[in-house]
Symmetry: D2
Subunit: 352 residues, 4 copies
């Protein structure tokens, strides 16, 4: 050991003794951790991942034989990000799962501060009820459960229904702001006719004295039929974004903002043969194709071959490119509204 080495070792030892000592006072030196706390670019444990619907469906049907919707409260298989196992997260701040309700079953009424989206993957004619109003759930529909609204789901059709749940569970947990209650009965009373919210808020009209409340869209079902038809009409203009094809966000007609406060929801049309330019943004995004077939390349080398109802996730600041083998429609969701509200959202369109 040279003198210099000895000196350095002495300093290191003194510092370590200091760190140990102040640790007891709940103090710790920033300079040891600064570089990993404030990183030059996002450095996430979230990893690219994908799930085949066929696999999920098989597992769900098996789960259907192992537990009832009522016993489970919600019969859901959580899609856990492989980089975040054990945390019930698909990205760092969002949760995703696939829910199954069998014919004749009810998922009992409860409410919570967490916002939920439902994107129907398979089935039709089941219902979800929100604050006294039922809406029918059909394939491709995007349905909202606003914070602290009573909600229950039921299936009066004769086939199972499967949907993708997206919730801000990790975010609300992180902010220590969770409140929840059970109603104490399976189904809440129905007090409004079917389609009432859509008529009242979804037709580019608003009740004359309506005042916005809570930020979440009062339109709680965005039926796929209407969305798909709008995409088809827009297609005529042939205005394609190199990164997105034709991409729309679901909006709250009362404010023009995102349909939900904490989760952004999107739908995009990629015509057959379209390849998007590389794109990245800080909002990790969950994709669920509902029509078509294609593949996506995430980061340098993670390739997802996807078809209808499959699910995949693109982490923050990882580039993604999509290639559509057929006319394809992709639903997606992310925390973009949160990042926009906090002025943190950033995108990189490459040279597009």
């Amino acid at each position: 050991m040279t003198d210099i080495q000895a000196q350095e070792a002495g300093i290191a030892a003194k510092r370590q003794e200091f760190y140990d000592r102040i640790g007891g006072q709940n103090l710790t030196p920033l300079w040891l951790s600064l570089a990993e706390l404030v990183t030059p670019e996002p450095r996430s444990n979230c990893r690219p991942a994908s799930w085949r619907f066929a696999d999920i469906r098989a597992a769900m049907m098996e789960a259907g034989g192992l537990i009832t919707a009522k016993e489970a409260e919600r019969r859901v298989l959580v899609l856990e990000n492989p980089g975040l196992r054990g945390q019930s997260k698909i990205t760092t701040d969002l949760y995703a799962g696939v829910q199954l309700v069998l014919p004749g079953e009810v998922a009992p009424a409860h409410r919570h501060t967490q916002t939920a989206l439902r994107f129907v993957l398979e089935g039709k004619g089941a219902y979800t009820a929100v604050d006294g109003e039922r809406t029918l759930m059909n394939e491709g529909d995007f349905i909202i459960t606003p914070p602290m609204t009573w909600h229950d789901h039921g299936n009066e059709s004769d086939a199972p229904i499967f949907w993708l749940d997206g919730l801000d569970i990790p975010l609300v947990q992180f902010l220590d702001a969770s409140f929840a209650e059970h109603l104490g009965q399976d189904e809440q009373p129905v007090t409004r006719p079917l389609g009432d919210s859509d008529a009242r808020f979804g037709a580019n009209l608003l009740p004359v004295d309506h005042r916005p409340r809570g930020g979440t869209s009062p339109v709680f079902n965005y039926p796929y039929e209407r969305t798909r038809e709008a995409l088809e009409r827009m297609r005529q203009a042939a205005e394609w974004d190199p990164c997105h094809g034709l991409k729309m966000r679901y909006s709250n007609p009362v404010t023009g903002g995102h349909a939900m406060n904490t989760i952004g929801t999107f739908v995009q049309l990629l015509p057959k043969g379209f390849s998007t330019a590389a794109y990245r943004a800080t909002d990790a995004t969950v994709f669920a194709p509902i029509e078509g077939r294609g593949r996506s390349i995430i980061g340098d080398d993670f390739v997802v071959e996807w078809g209808k109802r499959d699910i995949f996730v693109v982490p923050s600041w990882k580039s993604v490119r999509h290639e559509a083998a057929e006319d394809s429609v992709l639903f997606s969701f992310s925390d973009r509204p949160v990042q926009e509200a906090l002025h943190l959202w950033r995108e990189d369109r490459g040279n597009a």
Copy 2:
């Protein structure tokens, strides 16, 4: 003349001499006019008034023989408020007229800062074009021409088309903010497919990177078919407002605000036999029933018996009561967005 009278006369004379003298300096005493400038309640020259569509139609058809749409630029008969004759106003700050385009005619392209609404009274299949996109005009449709957008109207159908024009002409004139241009050709080039704006903005979806601009709704046709169907669906909930029946405002889906910056537009359903409670507000309002039959009592004693396509006006702060003899739908417009933006709007719902 007593001494006191003499003294008073002396004071009055001195004051008058003073007033006359300072008048030359563009000075004038407030105390002589204060009471009429700042009134305890609105004291308007605007008067209740009504027009029968049959009369307007006859006059318009006669006008159709006296001048072409092209020569007139816009073949319109202005509905002048009887209390505001010679000013081209239906209320103190709004203009209304009825426009006729005969089969094969074109009203040539121009643009201006004034915002225009079109409410189609009779006819179908004519078009209006706004910034390169045409929309078809059918009875009951509410159509917007946003400020400074090129617009022309044409009638390729085989019947005359009549619509109600509402503009903020007096307001823009009052604010000294009028700009206008002629395109120099009858029809602007069509650059977007029919229905493009509606698909892009009217289906509770928005282009993912859209930023609101200018405040006016990018949805420029609110088709009556959709509006009427929404009213019918809402009707099931049987929630009737005592003053309004079932009243909606047309909204800008990009902001949730009024569809236009300066003119509020409304549609209300009054079921057969419904009588509204007395209501007054500071926004003088132009009504145009598009379905049904009934009567309205304005102030104490001005009674309008109205049917489909008739037009009547309720001045600021005059109470109005409606009685529907049949299921009726009333379109209406006023300056409510202006008054709301300036925090001046006030309503009085009586004991309702």
Copy 3:
């Protein structure tokens, strides 16, 4: 008369007969007035004008001998635009006057929907009271009376006080939205300490649970001392706008918007020798220099030589250039917030 002339005369006669006939139905042809209703550029009756404070002061002092503040309710001489005589307007939609309160006088408490600004021209130590709180009025202070707040003015100093009043009287009249009341006693009770609003809202702090209401700034006195010091500090950065020198708008700290809903207020520093580039905007503006000396050229040839406390007005869309013979500070006000709220405001910075 040729055949053609005869034909034309026939058409003209027919048309005139038609116009006369439909006039009885409150109908009038648009095509005769369209060109003057919708003009290519603002075409206002408002004219450039100026008043010397010395003249106003002399007239006011004379008025002081002819009528008491109490008898007059407000002893004000209205500054009438020479193009709008008899209408109590300084621009098409704004009112201006100069008010005098003599030592010991009180202008009794009333309230109205009209918003008022006071810009103190001469004097110190008088007060204005707004909703239970008094504020002292000193030369150069900009003071607000929000809509429908009780207010009275008093002068407990030993010298007369003169201030410039700016109100939205013509605008509120035009919108038929005037409401007003007398309190029935000269002075309202004082319920809050001097300076309370300023402490509560004016120090870049807000009460933790404050919700904005009504749009008008709760800071109702912007003392000149503070404004002047801020201008002097900013001057160090030597960032001069070619059209404005150093121009600030008074702001509502609760919203960041204009201090008042209907009247924009501004203050600008023009250093000695500074000449501004030609500038025009659609908001006709009233200027009141409070320091310095200079001249302004309005339009092509209207020249105002101004000094401290003089007043002049620049109509909509007329260009103005200022030349400062000394370090000068100009207070100004206009309807810019109205035009901005309605998306009508437009400026032209020439080549600046």
Copy 4:
């Protein structure tokens, strides 16, 4: 084992086998974790905690001998919540530390997406520079470093300076949105005079054409002298909130919102002898008294005896009561703006 027990064991075993199997597909049953993910009330690992300034100061001075500001980049001791050790967090989503800059030292220029607040605990005359403008740091001043602005700190005084740092490091990390850069030189060039931002934005005036950007207040120093004087003036009105005494939030004068996007900052005056009623809210809050002496009871039984410069933390939804033994001023910060923006914030004022 009874038959029923045997059956149950069989079911349990089957389920477990299922869970194990689907685990390999990154699927996991929600029903096992639902109750801990969506809790009836916030259930946080964050714990009440406190630090004495005397202890922190002693440790900081020792650190001053062990590492230079330059070597450390920032010589800061992190205040780690005892329930969140090893995570550099004082609450679940916020970071706090105490920074020391010795006379003659410089903390070199860098920038990052994380927002920082500085609350000066001891010292005067050091500076922080933000985007070319320096501001002096004096005891009690609240200073902002907006996201992605270059900043460096220096101490040209002859005494050490200590301040409390509050940053949204855990939040930005959680959202995977961290970007950071080093300038490559210790001090950025100074391009604006001292006090320029304060003059431009902090005097209830705004540059006439200013457009808000990024949400963070452009006033980046809120000097204690001004804040303290405002509190003292407000005190005259004697309006005490039972839960807060007299509590203000620092505001962004350009928007009226919080001074920063992600961290709310507050200052409150508790007069001698004042005891607050129990209060709880979902925003865990860090308190730093800067005047006075007293104690606070957090939850049922955690008691903090605090004096000037001490620091303590109240977790989400834990009640707090303060008792002031002397006139006391408490600075505090929390994530309230985040929770408000996401419509998650909730408070409970008990019976106050």
